[in-house]
């Protein structure tokens, strides 16, 4: 209908409805329905974000005095103050391995759970359940289970298997465990849906062509899955990077797990330095973007077309 209106020129145009004439100019009036959402986003996200960026250029007098740099004093402080800048590495040291682990462990599990077997639903539910717990509950669970006075240590001590309680929480390991518990279900769900999008007849074809399972995985499934793996990695990385509650609850908040989110929180609540807190928050975004950019750069070399499955 629309194309005929376009091709038959002005005579037909007169009879075309307003909607069609607008559509010809690329105006879709249905998009007007998005207006409330856009206003909402502007008010609740873009405005505070812009305000936050503005704040970073209004450093406290003390910061300016100590680090110099005028308007940019907060940024100078961020890079020069080892106490703050080390946090970048601390955060990355948690988030990168956690994301990598979640992705790598999800692959074989998603593979295994692809076939039908008794109790599959049950197992899937158990794997995905931690999503519903939230980080605080996870942290509390970890403390009760693996803390110095936790069940695990008590059990091991009482049975004489160890003499000293194992230090499983309030350190790097504790935060790592909590990141895995909360990040794994996401990674697993995403990867298994990417996997189900790959047409099983491709593997069958590779089989009849003489490929054993390793060759099938390396040559067919992995290349088709790789873009999905990259996306999953990014999502779990972002989740892990902004870790805050568990870094505080099951971590070592002033040492090994002094992550950026904690530093921003401290600047805000303890030092009442809003501008420094904003600077740290902005820099968190920048670091995340750098990592994401690297992953996308790698992803751009991969095949990303149809995988022929039920999608």
């Amino acid at each position: 209908m629309m194309t005929s209106a376009t091709h038959t020129g002005s005579r037909a145009r007169g009879s075309a409805s307003l909607r069609h004439r607008l559509a010809e100019r690329g105006v879709d009036t249905k998009l007007l329905l998005l207006v409330p959402a856009i206003v909402f986003a502007l008010l609740l996200f873009v405005y505070p974000f812009a305000y936050g960026i503005g704040l970073t250029f209004q450093p406290l007098a003390a910061t300016q005095e100590q680090w110099g740099g005028g308007f940019f004093a907060n940024y100078v402080a961020f890079f020069k103050d080892a106490f703050i800048f080390d946090s970048v590495w601390i955060t990355l040291r948690l988030a990168l391995p956690a994301a990598l682990f979640n992705v790598l462990v999800s692959i074989p599990i998603a593979f295994k759970l692809r076939s039908k077997f008794r109790g599959k639903r049950m197992l899937q539910t158990l794997l995905v359940l931690p999503i519903t717990l939230g980080t605080v509950l996870t942290a509390q669970g970890l403390l009760i289970f693996a803390g110095r006075q936790g069940w695990l240590n008590r059990f091991l001590l009482e049975n004489g298997i160890i003499d000293q309680p194992l230090q499983l929480v309030n350190n790097y390991l504790g935060v790592m465990l909590s990141l895995i518990i909360s990040g794994f279900p996401f990674a697993y769900l995403l990867i298994s849906s990417y996997l189900s999008g790959i047409d099983p007849s491709l593997e069958a074809a590779a089989k009849t062509l003489g490929a054993n399972w390793k060759q099938r995985f390396r040559r067919i499934t992995l290349p088709l899955l790789a873009p999905g793996l990259a996306t999953t990695f990014i999502l779990t990385f972002v989740l892990a990077f902004s870790v805050f509650p568990s870094a505080r609850l099951v971590g070592d908040a002033s040492g090994e797990t002094r992550v950026l989110a904690l530093m921003a929180y401290r600047a805000f609540s303890e030092q009442l330095d809003y501008s420094m807190a904003s600077t740290i928050a902005i820099m968190m975004g920048v670091v995340e973007l750098i990592v994401i950019a690297f992953v996308f750069l790698g992803r751009s070399f991969l095949y990303k077309g149809s995988t022929g499955g039920k999608g």
Partner: protein, 374 residues
């Protein structure tokens, strides 16, 4: 390319069966395939054709029976060790690999030297005339081109058996005819042994040396195209072989292997393809082309069927006509002159071209033909 080197003498399927959770998809398939044969598996949707093929390819484990090559069991081998080529119904080309890499895949899995892989891929591309498309991805090809890639990918390995699952079902009529010829040509020039699945009787008749007709997982008849075309063993096979008029009638009298069958405004002499007694309800099968229009003026013999013309379709050389008998039975007829809808016609049929079958299909699975191939 020359004749496959790793060929065999006979492939034997013994009582091969497969069921899905108690539901039989394939029952007691017995078949002996000689090297170089072209076998077509024919049957309606859901009759177990793909199941049979997947069982052969090793993609589905058997629940009954065994598959032997020259007396050695191969149904215990995993798919990748069977050395069969398979062309999938949906082609199953690797979307991330170029055409030449798709074709090279199987050769690389066999760890052949690079030079040989290159040479055989070039041969394969030439075979299906796709040299110009070598660097493209499957997604950038037309349906017919994809299909040829799928065939090339399967045959460059010179497999001892090629399995094809309705490879032409997604193509348009013209391309289908072209590819049909192409497949037969490849089969002959490469000396392949082929098992071909289709639900199109014309395709099966024109391609195959022997046909296997399946229904609900059971073999109905095995034989050459001529045997099936002229002597279907039951009405189901007849139906598949173009006997479009299938009418339930009653036997009035029997003389030798001829019988008079009556009912639905029809009373004619017909050949007993299966035994029947007077009073039995039977199925009469007649091809549209065997029903001759004699016109309303010819004196009405006892064997003429009187009918009214319903629909006339022009089909080039002839007209396909639907008529209704005086008792409301629809029949399909071919005529060489345009008949007027609404006019009355008389139809006649040579008794040797009208076949009488029992109505039930149970226990009539052609034991004679089966023992002949065993």
């Amino acid at each position: 390319m020359t004749r496959s080197t790793n060929t065999f003498d006979t492939l034997e399927l013994k009582n091969v069966g497969r069921s899905f959770g108690g539901q039989n998809a394939l029952v007691d398939l017995n078949l002996r395939v000689r090297a170089g044969e072209f076998i077509a598996l024919l049957g309606p949707s859901g009759c177990g054709k793909s199941t049979a093929l997947n069982c052969l390819a090793g993609l589905l484990p058997l629940t009954h029976g065994e598959i032997l090559i020259d007396g050695k069991r191969i149904d215990v081998l995993p798919s990748e060790k069977r050395d069969f080529g398979m062309v999938f119904q949906n082609y199953a080309l690797f979307p991330h690999l170029s055409v030449e890499k798709n074709i090279a895949f199987g050769l690389q899995m066999r760890n052949l030297p690079k030079a040989e892989v290159t040479r055989r891929v070039a041969d394969g591309l030439a075979l299906v005339k796709l040299q110009d498309q070598a660097k493209k991805r499957p997604g950038q090809l037309s349906g017919g081109q994809q299909q040829r890639v799928a065939i090339a990918r399967a045959v460059v390995l010179e497999p001892r058996l090629v399995l094809m699952d309705e490879p032409l079902s997604n193509l348009d009529a013209k391309l289908r005819l072209e590819m049909r010829t192409e497949i037969r040509r490849l089969h002959q020039s490469l000396g392949l042994t082929t098992i071909y699945v289709t639900h199109d009787q014309e395709e099966a008749l024109s391609l195959a040396d022997r046909l296997v007709v399946l229904r609900e997982g059971r073999v109905q008849q095995i034989g050459t195209p001529e045997q099936l075309h002229n002597n279907p063993t039951n009405w189901h096979v007849a139906d598949f072989m173009g006997y479009r008029n299938i009418v339930d009638l009653e036997v009035e009298s029997v003389v030798g292997d001829l019988a008079r069958v009556t009912g639905r405004g029809i009373s004619i002499m017909a050949t007993l393809a299966q035994t029947a007694a007077v009073g039995d309800t039977v199925r009469l099968a007649i091809r549209p082309s065997d029903l001759v229009v004699t016109g309303p003026d010819t004196p009405s013999g006892r064997d003429a069927i009187q009918a009214t013309v319903n629909v006339v379709e022009y089909q080039g050389r002839e007209f396909a006509v639907e008529v209704t008998t005086t008792e409301g039975q629809n029949l399909y007829v071919h005529a060489y002159t345009a008949l007027l809808p609404g006019s009355t016609v008389r139809l006649a049929v040579d008794p040797s071209r009208a076949l009488v079958y029992r109505s039930s299909l149970d226990g009539v699975a052609a034991p004679r033909e089966l023992s002949a191939v065993r």
